[in-house]
Symmetry: C2
Subunit: 203 residues, 2 copies
């Protein structure tokens, strides 16, 4: 079977998604760590060979490189129960994964990064101007998730799919960005369900 190498920064939720998917899908992956704070994903070599977008995670499949966490998860989970067999449900899974990248990650994950890595006192003026907007948009995302989960255990269908995996890590750590998960009890119950899946790594 082709060697799989995850180019990652382990504290990144986007990287956790790929490790969790590999674990649930029973795929072995090697790991290579890069310190994003020290610019290790912006070196000429990284840009030329791993990802011209200068970001992790990237899943290396033999001599091919696949950036974008959610695309890598789909690759690893292809043909498993993590991807629904029914066409609408499969698209609905992708719906939540695209929503995560557009509505959730840029708000919930970015505030975690700005708080814990950059430092709120060190933000640029352009970043500081976005704090209130990202706080409101992040809470709107968490509220939408909570409403969706009130009457269901998983985002799509009757079992765990990649939608749950994609939404888990930055939601689980939302408190590090100043979000109050006590306001979202259905989300908290769902977080416990995901965390208790056999084989899922900690985050």
């Amino acid at each position: 079977m082709t060697t799989l190498i995850l180019h990652e920064y382990a504290a990144s939720g986007n990287c956790w998604k790929i490790r969790a998917t590999a674990a649930l899908a029973g795929r072995a992956i090697e790991r290579r760590e890069y310190d994003i704070v020290k610019g290790k994903t912006r070196t000429p070599q990284f840009l030329a060979t791993v990802n011209p977008n200068g970001r992790i995670p990237v899943l290396q499949v033999g001599d091919r490189f696949l950036p974008e966490s959610n695309a890598a998860c789909v690759y690893l989970a292809d043909g498993t129960a993590l991807v629904p067999a029914e066409a609408f449900d499969r698209a609905d899974m992708l719906r939540w994964m695209f929503w995560e990248q557009y509505n959730h990650e840029p708000n919930v994950a970015t505030l975690r990064f700005w708080t814990g890595w950059v430092g709120l006192d060190n933000l640029s003026a352009a970043q500081a101007a976005q704090l209130d907007g990202k706080r409101a948009a992040g809470d709107a995302a968490l509220a939408l998730m909570d409403e969706h989960l009130v009457a269901r255990d998983w985002f799509v269908g009757d079992g765990v799919t990649l939608a749950d995996i994609a939404l888990y890590p930055y939601t689980a750590r939302a408190g590090e960005g100043g979000f109050d998960l006590d306001r979202y009890p259905a989300v908290q119950a769902w977080l416990r369900r995901v965390a208790s899946l056999p084989g899922v790594p900690n985050f």
Copy 2:
């Protein structure tokens, strides 16, 4: 066959993606127009029945609703040549679609919207503070596309896929947000290829 209804705002590039995919996949869709400027996607009825996220496009499939343009495209193109049969290529298509929503649309499309709909003189302070950053990130996205397209005709493999459809509309109209497409000749040649596909609607 199940009735397909596109809930849309026709000037939105995200809505064009779905119409273009339906045309190329030979699927008939009905269209319902909403004036987003007048808040027609934020009414209680829209939020309760069409999309709790208050956004278009949404593809209605019978009595089920599928938000997120790129997810709707995957649903419509399932089983056609617009989705590569080979697993890595299929994931690589999704890679570009996730990249579009994270790195391209929030910069290139947002500047078009702020310029042509909101008006640059009417931006909030938080929006105005992001202008330079979005301009730089949008140009970086266009430059990455140009570099990718120098030696190839399509984003993935040897023919048009949903990656091309997803990246087309806001790239084609990037000039409306102040981007200079003359700097990206490979992108311009690719835009002409997409626009000349039989059946693709104008944008």
